[in-house]
């Protein structure tokens, strides 16, 4: 321990991406101008990640379990007749580099993986729910009930659809979007056997794969040739900044990239591209 003391004293993000994450840093770019709010990603997530269907009564109590949700806001200006349509927002775990949820977990059930993911170990969780109360985006979902057993969320033969690559979570456990870590794991393992790194486009999340307009781009930020990396650089969004340089002077050249609630200094790994509306129309 004393030998490499400095290793234990570093903080993230250091500003040098390759130093923080030598191999992988999974990240997303979501184009809000392409997102039509069709909910394909939501269903894909249910299918991939064994999310329980909670039913009307529990939904009423706000106990729904969707890891990714489509939010619909209205414009404050034309509230009577929304001439510019609605505003859609796919909100999922932002996999923050400095995640507020990680530090507060009493048992360390949620940590930061070398791939820059915000891991959640279901088995370790004791359900203090501190992580969720500290999450600015409120994208962590808690198993208020024993859905598989007592609530019978999967009557036979529906359990046959369950994905064996993840557990079915029981009551009292916090869960959240994992960037489909089971897919990432498979791809990494395959690449490793072939003695290489995962190539761009080789693996993607369920939501990104299903999105009909391809609004969601997923990839490895460290990989210089990855699409997502290009987009981040193009939009001049720096993972390790809480105020982007382009925004300091009011973003005159109109670059669309931004991150939600960036000023909270959680350094989220999901970049959104601003929705566009034509003022002539």
């Amino acid at each position: 321990m004393l030998r490499d003391w400095t290793k234990y004293r570093t903080t993230h993000p250091t500003g040098d991406l390759n130093k923080d994450h030598p191999e992988y840093k999974w990240a997303m770019a979501i184009d809000l101008d392409a997102c039509t709010g069709c909910n394909a990603c939501v269903v894909a997530c249910y299918a991939e990640n064994n999310l329980p269907v909670v039913g009307k009564k529990k939904f009423l109590h706000g106990q729904v379990m969707h890891w990714i949700r489509i939010e619909r806001y209205w414009n404050d200006e034309d509230i009577d007749i929304p001439h510019q349509g609605a505003q859609f927002m796919p909100m999922l775990c932002q996999q923050c580099e400095a995640a507020p949820c990680e530090t507060v977990c009493p048992v360390g059930a949620t940590n930061h993986t070398p791939d820059g993911l915000n891991s959640q170990v279901y088995n370790r969780c004791i359900g203090s729910r501190y992580c969720s109360s500290n999450c600015p985006y409120k994208v962590r979902y808690f198993n208020w009930y024993n859905y598989p057993e007592q609530e019978n969320a999967w009557p036979d033969p529906l359990p046959m659809q369950l994905n064996p690559d993840l557990t079915v979570r029981t009551k009292g456990i916090m869960e959240k979007c994992t960037f489909c870590v089971q897919r990432l794991y498979e791809a990494k393992s395959k690449a490793r056997t072939e003695g290489r790194l995962v190539k761009d486009g080789e693996v993607t999340t369920a939501c990104a794969q299903s999105c009909p307009t391809g609004a969601i781009t997923f990839g490895n930020l460290v990989d210089p040739y990855s699409k997502v990396g290009k987009m981040w650089r193009q939009q001049r969004v720096d993972l390790s900044k809480d105020v982007q340089d382009k925004d300091r002077d009011g973003n005159p050249e109109g670059i669309r990239g931004y991150r939600v609630l960036e000023e909270l200094r959680a350094y989220p790994s999901i970049m959104y591209l601003e929705r566009v509306r034509d003022t002539q129309a």
Partner: protein
């Protein structure tokens, strides 16, 4: 000098030491009937709580009607409340002990007991609130076959450590302070009680050697307890202050919490003071002047709390944290507003009634006021926890109508029952007035009078 005579005495100094033993020891044998009514009442409440907990345990936390934004509820609020309660015990027994305010002597014993038991209650809430409480041992730092340690960065873990320290220390403090009284009980009791007290008294004989070390160590522990008590509630405060949520992320939280703690504690002491005075016929020892002193103390602390409270509001209002400001506004105008205003009224306005001698010397009035103050303090804790959840950073999950279900209320009630049971059992087994210290008090008063007489002659 003259006013020393005029001032009515907080204890009769001609009261015989043997009498003290008699009075106190009888409290252990035969209290008034009221005691048993209270005991039954506490039992019922506790039973309700247990029922709710079993239900919640089997079905899941959903039955408490939590949801995505509202992750915590009454459990955490009550947790803070009980931690707060515990502080006044330390205040009376340790702080006043160090500054040699000897009017504390008749009442500090039960205050100290209150500390211990309210800490036990608070500890229960931590567990009740867990989603998988059967896994709580994951949070214990013991070497295990998983090779996984708890996360020492989490304020919750600091809580656990601090509370454990506080609980054990104040228990030891309570016990050490009671050893001479156990000796008295030993010398006067028969039957199983004799053996019981013999064990507890550890063969105390009141030799000068014992007294000497007793004095020193007791003082030392007292010195430890004071910073400990302060740190405990600061850490509880940091559960919130160290998080990122609007309305929680406030620098002035730790002192604010400590003040609130002492406040609710003093109020609780008044309540219990009056109850014990009645049920155990302690009119001789828990005298009105002492009550008067506590009342004044309470008022002082109430003012401190009010001040810090307004500091908090002001810092939010004049700060540029839009989110926190929205929470504050929503507290004052949203669905929580009745509770919020009630809390401010009970916490800051009601104490002014304590300015009036008439009220201070009226037991019924004091009982009611102290209960109301406690209610106010409990509301304060709730108003810290709930509104932030209902109006956090993220607009989509902002949700103003989620109220605790009967399960939460039931368990909160149960906690009062649990506390009541423990406390009353204690009073039944341990002299709730420290006999030897009352003797000291009387003795010193006698000396004081002698000394005065000599002065007069001269």
């Amino acid at each position: 000098m003259n006013d020393f005579n005029k001032e009515e005495k907080d204890i009769r100094d001609d009261i015989a030491w043997a009498q003290i033993n008699k009075d106190v020891l009888q409290s252990i044998e035969k209290p008034r009937a009221a005691f048993w009514y209270l005991f039954a009442f506490a039992g019922t409440l506790f039973a309700i709580g247990v029922g709710c907990e079993i239900y919640q345990y089997q079905v899941g936390l959903g039955v408490a009607n939590f949801d995505n934004p509202h992750m915590w509820g009454l459990y955490i609020a009550s947790f803070i409340f009980w931690i707060g309660m515990s502080h006044s015990g330390t205040l009376l027994s340790a702080i006043l002990h160090i500054i040699h305010a000897d009017w504390r002597k008749p009442i500090y014993r039960f205050a100290e007991a209150m500390t211990t038991f309210s800490l036990m209650t608070a500890g229960l809430f931590v567990i009740v609130h867990l989603g998988r409480l059967w896994q709580v041992y994951y949070a214990l730092p013991y070497p295990n076959e998983r090779w996984a340690w708890p996360n020492f960065q989490s304020p919750l873990l600091w809580d656990a450590t601090a509370i454990f320290t506080y609980l054990t220390s104040s228990m030891l403090f309570l016990y050490v302070g009671a050893i001479p009284d156990f000796a008295i009980c030993r010398d006067n009791a028969e039957g199983w009680r004799k053996n019981f007290y013999t064990v507890l008294a550890l063969g105390w004989m009141g030799t000068d050697r014992q007294w000497r070390n007793f004095r020193v160590s007791y003082m030392t522990i007292a010195c430890f307890l004071i910073p400990l008590a302060v740190s405990v509630h600061s850490i509880v405060a940091s559960d919130f202050a160290m998080s990122q949520q609007p309305g929680w992320h406030i620098t002035s939280f730790p002192p604010y919490f400590v003040a609130g703690a002492l406040y609710s504690g003093c109020a609780a002491i008044i309540t219990l003071f009056i109850m014990l005075r009645h049920t155990f016929r302690f009119e001789e020892y828990m005298t009105m002047p002492i009550l008067d002193k506590i009342a004044r103390l309470t008022f002082a602390i109430a003012m401190v709390w009010t001040y810090l409270n307004f500091i908090e509001y002001a810092s939010v209002w004049y700060g540029d944290d839009m989110f926190a400001k929205q929470v504050l506004i929503q507290k004052a105008t949203g669905p929580y507003s009745p509770f919020w205003w009630a809390m401010n009224f009970l916490g800051s306005v009601l104490p002014f009634t304590l300015l009036f001698k008439k009220i201070r010397s009226n037991l019924t009035a004091m009982l009611i006021i102290s209960l109301l103050l406690n209610l106010g303090m409990w509301l304060e804790r709730w108003m810290i926890v709930a509104p932030t959840f209902s109006h956090g950073y993220y607009p989509w999950t902002i949700d103003h109508d989620q109220w605790p279900s009967f399960v939460q209320w039931g368990i909160v009630l149960g906690s009062f029952g649990w506390f009541g049971l423990l406390f009353m059992l204690f009073c039944k087994l341990v002299p709730s007035v420290s006999m030897y210290e009352v003797k000291e008090m009387v003795y010193h008063r006698t000396l004081g009078r002698k000394h005065l007489a000599q002065l007069r002659e001269a």
